[in-house]
């Protein structure tokens, strides 16, 4: 009979062979020892196609993200975004029963809009490159922080900035309180220089065009700063639901005007067109917003997500946004319909057009940008995703957006210019996104 000592001898040697045979039997499978060396990168990529109706703006956006995960709470994220915009955008002027001719923003040449058509500036064309780097990590047991920088550039705009946030966990991480801030320093270098606010647009073909054009310009560049502070509380209610509440403050100062937007001037409300003025917005804006969001997960894994945002600012705008989406899961797939309703009131400086009398009162700010007027908008969307495994997913989202102006200044008081919603720009857009995570 073999003695038991024959078994003890391989004891030491076993160490080496054990590793080999243990690995062989689990061939191809990540194991405990290898867990730390596994691929720790997550990637995501998406392409968004945005198309407005009536040959207006068309945009394509491509996003590529890469995240290096150090652990579940520590990560470094890189994001690159490329946007290209083409098409035409409303320049702010009212439609007219006569053809209208506008000086191009560059001062070189002009474009003409047919009678009855909404004036669109068809030189709208740009490519923007954006890069973000974001670092997030815990600070001890109960705190975490995050910091990041961004840079974006396009031919007439440059933005650089940074952000920082600090979170504190309470109540076994069921409550998270976050204070976040960001600062962005932006420089505008508009085509043809910075327009003088409320100056007259030089008349194409006039003998004094170049003198008039130069008189409407004030240097080559302007800048603005945007500072945001957000205070948020996230509360896990139970294992199925959570709620979030944010209060945010955004302070913008500097050149906040859109250098390409103009305002039609009439002799009287509903009278004869006199010309065009460049718009002018106040040089500071303080926005405040309250945001609430709730999420509920059902037994089968379906998720109901609802949110409401109320925004108000010192320009006189208030807006309400209600958003609801339901993620319906079936096997590896999910379908997520979404509906969103948005309603905003015009800022004080908004006028669809201006009268000579109003101009004589020397207004400090004036804009006819439809995005600052009274309107309602809805979004209907649906997202479909297919999950190959926990980290690999392909999705597509189709959404329609419709923006509907409301009648303006129906009270007919002398300091406002009445306009029928039918004369104001409305807009329909379709967005298609295709993306993936891997």
């Amino acid at each position: 009979m073999k003695s038991d000592t024959s078994l003890t001898r391989p004891g030491a040697a076993l160490g080496a062979s054990l590793a080999a045979i243990g690995c062989a039997v689990l061939q191809g499978l990540p194991n405990q020892a290898m867990a730390g060396e596994l691929e720790n990168w997550d990637f995501d990529a998406a392409v968004l196609q945005y198309t407005e109706s009536n040959d207006r703006v068309e945009a394509t956006e491509a996003v590529l993200g890469a995240t290096r995960n150090f652990d579940s709470e520590t990560s470094l994220n890189f994001k690159l975004t490329l946007d290209t915009l083409t098409g035409a955008s409303p320049n702010g002027a009212m439609p007219s029963d006569q053809p209208q001719t506008f000086t191009r923003p560059s001062g070189r040449g002009s474009y003409t809009v047919e009678a009855g058509d909404l004036p669109l500036d068809d030189t709208f064309r740009d490519t923007r490159y954006t890069g973000n780097i974001q670092w997030s990590a815990p600070l001890g047991r109960d705190w975490s922080y995050s910091g990041g920088v961004h840079y974006s550039t396009e031919h007439d705009y440059e933005s650089r900035g940074g952000n920082a946030s600090l979170s504190r966990y309470f109540n076994n991480k069921n409550t998270t309180v976050t204070l976040a801030t960001s600062l962005s320093l932006d420089v505008l270098t508009p085509e043809g220089g910075v327009p003088v606010g409320l100056s007259a647009m030089a008349e194409p073909g006039s003998g004094s065009f170049s003198v008039d054009f130069d008189a409407s310009r004030d240097g080559k560049e302007a800048d603005k700063q945007v500072t945001d502070v957000i205070f948020g509380v996230t509360q896990i209610i139970n294992r199925r639901s959570l709620m979030q509440f944010n209060y945010s403050l955004s302070y913008n100062n500097g050149y906040l005007t859109d250098p390409y937007k103009i305002v039609s001037v009439y002799d009287t409300a509903g009278g004869t067109l006199q010309g065009y003025r460049y718009e002018q917005r106040p040089d500071s804006r303080l926005k405040q917003a309250l945001f609430w969001q709730g999420k509920y997960q059902f037994d089968g894994g379906d998720i109901l997500d609802g949110s409401y945002r109320f925004l108000f600012d010192d320009w006189g705008m208030t807006s309400h946004t209600v958003d609801a989406r339901y993620r319906w899961r079936f096997g590896h797939q999910y379908l997520e319909p979404q509906v969103r309703w948005y309603s905003q009131s015009a800022i004080d400086a908004y006028q669809p057009y201006v009268t000579s009398a109003q101009l004589a009162d020397d207004p400090q700010a004036l804009t006819a940008d439809y995005r600052l007027g009274d309107f309602d908008a809805w979004t209907l969307g649906v997202r479909y995703g297919y999950r190959f495994d926990e980290k690999t997913e392909l999705y597509t989202r189709l959404a329609a957006y419709r923006q509907m102006p409301r009648d303006f200044g129906s009270d007919n008081s002398s300091d406002t210019t009445p306009a029928d919603a039918g004369d104001l720009p409305e807009m329909t857009a379709v967005m298609l996104t295709i993306g993936g995570r891997f």
Partner: protein
């Protein structure tokens, strides 16, 4: 069998439970409470894999791979990659143990019933089985390993009357596989969150629970079933116990271990009551624990030489 999954929040980790391989099984996931959906999916990944292995290699079924292999005795049969890897593992374990770790020794259970009684088999009954036991009687030819060590399959001939029994490695293998598939499935963001798979005391663990605290594992005391004698801390790797807490015979004041020496057909003498070993993987832990038990009185010396952490409960 009732294939149900239960998932509960444990204050700082998700606990998933299911039944497989005649044992209560657990998957502990150090994920936040908000990651319930991910926890549920990982639990399913783990349970499906354990059930798959059980279904495939169970000797109690007539409709599985195991039954098919035994349906054609004496004939050379092609086996798939997974079975080939298990057979290679078993062959190496058989060599390392000088023939005492033997997947063909399950036949001895026909005469050895470890029910706590004093009914020993007769020497003749045991001796009659020995000719049908012994790994060397199999004709097992694994394909050569590929460039990355992968095996595509092999050819196996099981002589008539012999029987393979994957019971000695199945649970440990399933624990490692279940954990590995979870690690494959979990998004990178959560991959360093600890996962612990516990298949009736055979454990595989990928990392500590929340706050970098090790998982605390109770190892059943041989005498008092259900009461933890050992409270071990496990942060990573495998843990397996070989012991006879429930399976033994008591005759004339002598305790007969359920661990049978396939060479003699009789229980290993002077084996510890139980051996628990921690190794990088569960299947390695299980192998070392079994080899230590098979070393009988030399178990402790054997374990010392492996350099692995171990816990012995002496007889």
């Amino acid at each position: 069998m009732q294939r149900s999954l239960r998932l509960d929040w444990q204050g700082d980790a998700w606990l998933g439970r299911f039944d497989a391989m005649a044992s209560p099984c657990e998957v502990l996931l150090a994920l936040p409470q908000t990651q319930r959906e991910l926890a549920r999916r990982l639990l399913k990944v783990a349970a499906d894999e354990v059930w798959r292995i059980e279904q495939r290699y169970s000797r109690y079924r007539t409709d599985n791979l195991f039954a098919a292999l035994h349906a054609q005795p004496g004939q050379s049969q092609r086996v798939d990659a997974e079975t080939a890897r298990l057979l290679n593992f078993a062959e190496q374990a058989w060599r390392l143990s000088d023939g005492r770790f033997d997947l063909t020794s399950g036949l001895l259970r026909q005469v050895w019933k470890f029910d706590g009684s004093d009914r020993l088999p007769t020497a003749e009954a045991v001796a009659a089985l020995l000719p049908r036991i012994g790994w060397q009687q199999l004709d097992w030819r694994s394909d050569d390993a590929g460039a990355k060590g992968e095996i595509t399959g092999g050819w196996l001939t099981i002589p008539a009357g012999m029987e393979l029994d994957f019971g000695g490695i199945g649970k440990e293998y399933a624990a490692d596989r279940a954990l590995g598939l979870c690690l494959q499935a979990i998004p990178a963001r959560w991959r360093s969150s600890g996962i612990l798979v516990n298949l009736g005391g055979d454990l595989a663990c990928s990392g500590p629970r929340a706050d970098q605290q090790p998982w605390r594992v109770g190892v059943e005391a041989p005498e008092q079933e259900g009461q933890s004698a050992l409270m071990l801390k496990l942060a990573k790797g495998g843990l397996a116990t070989s012991g006879d807490s429930r399976r033994f015979l008591l005759c004339d004041g002598r305790r007969y271990s359920h661990l049978l020496d396939p060479i003699t057909g009789w229980p290993v003498e002077n084996a510890p009551r139980s051996v628990t070993v921690a190794a990088p993987s569960c299947i390695q832990s299980g192998l070392v624990a079994s080899l230590a038990m098979l070393a009988g009185a030399d178990a402790r010396a054997f374990l010392e030489q492996t350099g692995l952490p171990y816990w012995i409960v002496d007889a």
